[in-house]
């Protein structure tokens, strides 16, 4: 072929065309309603869980409205005049709007995370991602199809409370602007939750991990970035712009809207404008997540395609073992009957080259297995996919904490609250999401039949899984305890020398100057640990048992997340309503209001963490709901709650052992 003919056959490479094609590929919305979207929507329609969730959502809204009406009814019974009755009923409309708004604000993003969590990770696990490679579908079309299908699903959920909201608008006179603004915020957060979770699903191998990562991403997106902005402003000694904070923190916009609806003043920004800005922020973050997910999926598809081996093989194995393609070639050749120790590399295969012995990097000396093999394996599994992930995470956490200490001061109680409370929430989140895949994960990876056909007892299997899951959670409590110990040490140092650490940045005035005794500083780490360990033990137990009862780890994780939400969000709300004197008097005859509210709060780990920090670093009086108690009493309460949670965890595990034969696939 002549040079001219070659030039015609091979078009000239153009960077402009290259980037235009990439941009078109990544940014256009074509394929939103393509084959993946249609398959996902059809599959959703066939899943019973879809209808279960819809019923649950409708039930939650119905229950909340019923409780509101019940409370209003009880209040009405105390008044005599019909005018007051009418007034009471009219007051329901804004409250009803608020309640529905907050339920949608919390529920729709959570459902989005649950639905989007398995989207790509399940495809990898089933091996159907490799099948998609054989079609002309692009990564963008796959991601957009997945995202679109979850949007449709959430759209159906969003329609559930519309009749009630319309009624509140027509009969209660609720401001339409506020309604629309709340809708914008909920839409934005839901969109962000779905797209960020799809991104998490591309990054992780298991649906439960995708859900956990999705929740963390959403928390970072809705609060973390605003927090970083505030800290940066604080470090630069400038006042943060409330409009910017509101835009980057949708819960703040919801709070503003709540205040607006309640008729309260003092809102620093226009809540409707803030809702619009919040939607723009969420849309920008969502677009970024879609682009990132597309690029990562494209890379993943290339790796899976290059392996030519189907289900989640090459990339996942390499990710776990860190093996190079060359080492895999050694293994492949060895599997064909060749001696793996005599595979020459490309250079050495040249004539005359000396063969070099290659030892596969993944060959390891065997460890001695204990007599309880399940426990042995679970306690020896790595916390992170690769060792450097652990070091990188530890380094990142240490840097963040040091920066916070440097900016605000270790001995500043304002620092103690967010660190301890965020830590407690992370502990609960990890316990709720990562523990529910222990047995269902075995089912998904087809190792379960081999395990249940051994004579291992139900208790050996369940306890092994339980303690293994518990062990994996040690880093967060350890960080919080270390933080509390650093607080103690810094306090001791200041008490001893009365001088500053880190050039005056680390501390303000010393604990001694503020009248904080050593005993309370010593008690703080113990109380924080006690507060975290109990709920962690219970959620790990429920997660382990749910992973036995549910066949899919995503379903087990969802159920465990709902247990956590029920225990520590729904129950306190119900208790608050019930402990309202009028309701409690009507229903229980009076005298139990304080017990209900104090007992519920004592069982709430987030509240107890706050009370611990407050009591230890302030005046030594600890609040248990409406009751103020001494340090000794609080410690007794905290450790009593710990014992309660440990007993509950034990009870859940015993139930799991008793129900093992029913759910484990063993017939006898």
């Amino acid at each position: 072929m002549s040079e001219a003919a070659q030039a015609i056959a091979r078009p000239r490479f153009s960077w402009r065309e290259f980037w235009r094609a990439r941009g078109r590929d990544v940014l256009t919305l074509g394929g939103f309603f393509g084959a993946v979207f249609q398959r996902e929507v059809r599959a959703q329609g066939r899943r019973s869980s879809t209808y279960v969730f819809r019923c649950l959502y409708a039930l939650v809204i119905g229950a909340a409205l019923s409780i509101m009406f019940a409370v209003t009814y009880v209040s009405m019974r105390e008044t005599e005049s019909p005018a007051e009755h009418v007034q009471s009923l009219q007051q329901i409309a804004p409250i009803m709007t608020l309640v529905i708004g907050w339920i949608a604000f919390g529920g729709l993003p959570l459902l989005g995370v649950i639905f989007a969590g398995p989207s790509v990770s399940e495809e990898r696990r089933r091996g159907s991602l490799a099948e998609l490679l054989t079609t002309p579908l692009t990564a963008r079309e796959i991601i957009l199809g997945k995202v679109g299908a979850v949007f449709v699903q959430l759209g159906v959920f969003a329609l559930v409370p519309v009749p009630v909201l319309l009624a509140s608008r027509v009969f209660g006179g609720v401001d339409l602007r506020v309604l629309l603004a709340a809708g914008l915020v909920v839409t934005g957060v839901s969109m962000m939750a779905v797209t960020l979770t799809v991104l998490a699903s591309v990054l992780t191998r298991r649906a439960s991990a995708s859900i956990a990562s999705g929740i963390v991403f959403v928390l970072v997106g809705t609060m973390g970035i605003a927090l970083v902005y505030s800290l940066v402003c604080a470090s630069l000694r400038i006042n943060p712009n409330p409009s910017v904070i509101a835009a980057m923190c949708p819960p703040v916009v919801m709070a503003f809207l709540t205040a607006e609806l309640a008729g309260g003043g003092g809102i620093p920004v226009d809540p409707v404008a803030a809702a619009g800005a919040s939607l723009l922020y969420c849309a920008a973050l969502s677009a970024l997540a879609v682009v990132l997910a597309t690029l990562l999926l494209r890379r993943l598809m290339r790796v899976v395609g290059a392996s030519g081996a189907g289900p989640a093989l090459a990339s996942d194995k390499r990710a776990r073992t860190g093996r190079s393609p060359q080492a895999e070639a050694v293994q492949a050749a060895a599997s064909d009957g060749a001696n793996p120790n005599a595979i020459p590399n490309a250079a050495e295969s040249a004539p005359g080259a000396k063969p070099r012995t290659v030892i596969p990097r993944n060959d390891r000396d065997a460890r001695e297995v204990g007599d309880n093999p399940v426990l042995w394996r679970e306690t020896r599994r790595g916390l992170f996919m690769r060792p450097w992930h652990g070091w990188a995470s530890a380094g990142a956490v240490a840097l963040i904490l040091l920066w916070v200490y440097w900016q605000a001061g270790l001995l500043n109680e304002v620092v103690q609250f967010p660190v301890a409370i965020i830590g407690t929430i992370i502990v609960l989140l990890i316990a709720a999401t990562t523990t529910a895949g222990s047995i269902s994960g075995e089912r998904e990876s087809k190792t379960w039949p081999a395990l249940v056909t051994t004579p291992l007892s139900p208790a050996q299997i369940l306890m092994g899984k339980y303690f293994g899951a518990l062990r994996k959670q040690w880093p967060t409590p350890a960080i919080i305890t270390l933080h509390a110990l650093l607080t103690l040490l810094a306090g001791v140092y200041v008490l001893t020398t009365n001088s500053d650490i880190f050039g005056g940045q680390l501390i303000g005035s010393s604990w001694s100057q503020r009248g904080v005794p050593m005993s309370r500083l010593i008690a703080m780490p113990a109380l924080l640990l006690a507060t975290m360990i109990g709920p962690m033990a219970l959620l790990t137990a429920t997660g382990t048992v749910l992973s036995l009862t549910f066949r899919k780890s995503s379903a087990a994780t969802t159920a465990n997340v709902f247990i956590a939400i029920g225990l520590w969000i729904v129950v306190p709300i119900l208790a608050a309503i019930l402990s309202d004197t009028a309701v409690e008097e009507r229903l229980l005859g009076g005298g139990y209001a304080r017990l209900i509210s104090d007992g519920t709060l004592a069982l709430n780990p987030v509240y107890m963490t706050g009370a611990t920090i407050d009591g230890c670093l302030q005046d030594g009086r600890f609040s248990l709901g409406r009751t103020s108690v001494t340090g000794t009493e609080f410690m007794l309460a905290a450790f009593g709650v710990l014992v309660f949670y440990l007993a509950a965890a034990w009870g859940v595990l015993r139930l799991g052992v008793a129900a093992f034969h029913r759910f484990s696939d063993r017939s006898s």
């Binding site: 194995k317 776990r320 073992t321 093996r323 895999e328 293994q331 492949a332 060895a334 599997s335 064909d336 009957g337 596969p360 993944n362 060959d363 390891r364 000396d365 065997a366 460890r367 001695e368 297995v369 204990g370 007599d371 309880n372 093999p373 399940v374 042995w376 394996r377 599994r381 790595g382 075995e442 990876s445 087809k446 190792t447 379960w448 039949p449 081999a450 395990l451 249940v452 056909t453 051994t454 004579p455 291992l456 696939d665 063993r666 017939s667 006898s668």
Partner: protein
């Protein structure tokens, strides 16, 4: 050793097993054959105490699967059709894990593991990570796992699926070796020729019903129609095949003659089976004689041997569950 009496299992409206009755004695290698969804895996899962039968009695070593799960698990090794492995362990750790799970004493574990590794030809791979093994090696590791506690009964569901020809031959010789060791093997496979070479008896199941259980020879005899021979005539006059066909059909023991469209001088002669009334099978030399009478000369004469595939096709209807 294995007894199933009237075992029925239903999944909703689908009857996976319909009054299955089967008995496998000690020292047998039993091949379990059936189309996909016929109920083979369900039967194996019932025997390995993974599924509870709705009706009937299933016993392993005289122990009831409904009551004596623990004891059965100690005497039985089950290898499922889709084998999952713990990818975070080495081959040696994987076997140690299951040795501990089966309660093999610590002092004996090393020797036991070395023995099964040698038997399954995996000794060189004992330090390799499980997920780095090829499919064939993982299958062999699966066999090693089920042998770790020296069970008397082995249930192997499609042990050769996905294996290349070499690995399949190795797997077959391994199973034959286990049979020689006196273990009871129940093996399901779609590769019928392999089962024919390896098994002492077979069972054919379709839509949950056992169509046949017994020796392979008996299965051949039952499914056998008449003999079939492929005869190739010397090319010559075009009317020779027609004359040969007419001459052959004069004999009432010839049931059918089919032509080979690609070769006009080739005839497939099917003979009637021996009659229930005592009539004899047509001898092969009678075919020769008839062709000679018709003026034809035989170039090749190829009797068709019946295969397990033929028996399977004749005994099953090919209906899907």
């Amino acid at each position: 050793m294995i007894e199933l009496a009237g075992v029925t299992k239903r999944y909703g409206s689908l009857t996976a097993l319909d009054s299955l009755t089967l008995s496998i004695g000690a020292g047998q290698i039993f091949g379990f054959i059936g189309p996909n969804g016929a109920g083979k895996t369900t039967t194996m899962k019932i025997l390995s105490c993974l599924i509870r039968p709705d009706q009937g009695v299933a016993k392993v070593g005289g122990l009831d699967v409904r009551k004596d799960g623990d004891a059965i698990r100690r005497m039985l090794g089950y290898m499922p059709d889709f084998l999952g492995v713990y990818d975070d362990l080495t081959v040696d750790e994987y076997l140690q894990f299951f040795a501990a799970a089966f309660g093999v004493p610590r002092k004996k574990r090393r020797a036991t593991i070395d023995a099964v590794l040698q038997l399954t030809d995996l000794t060189e791979k004992k330090r390799a990570m499980v997920d780095s093994l090829s499919r064939g090696m993982q299958q062999r590791l699966g066999v090693a796992r089920v042998l770790i506690h020296d069970p008397q009964v082995l249930l192997l569901d499609e042990p050769a699926s996905g294996l290349d020809p070499r690995a399949r031959i190795e797997m077959r010789s391994l199973l034959q070796e286990l049979g020689r060791m006196g273990k009871v093997l129940m093996v399901s496979s779609h590769i019928l020729s392999e089962l024919a070479e390896m098994c002492t008896s077979i069972g054919i199941i379709e839509r949950g019903k056992l169509l046949y259980a017994g020796s392979i020879q008996d299965a051949y005899a039952r499914s056998r129609g008449g003999d079939k021979v492929i005869v190739r005539l010397e090319p010559g006059a075009p009317e020779t095949p027609r004359r040969a066909r007419e001459e052959l059909l004069k004999d009432a023991r010839v049931s059918r003659i089919t032509d080979d469209p690609a070769d006009p001088f080739s005839l497939a002669v099917e003979m009637m089976p021996p009659g229930a009334d005592g009539s004899a099978r047509m001898p092969h030399h009678a075919v020769f004689d008839a062709i000679t009478r018709a003026g034809g000369r035989v170039v090749s004469f190829e009797p068709q041997a019946i295969k397990l595939e033929d028996a399977f096709l004749k005994l099953t209807t090919g209906a899907l569950q």
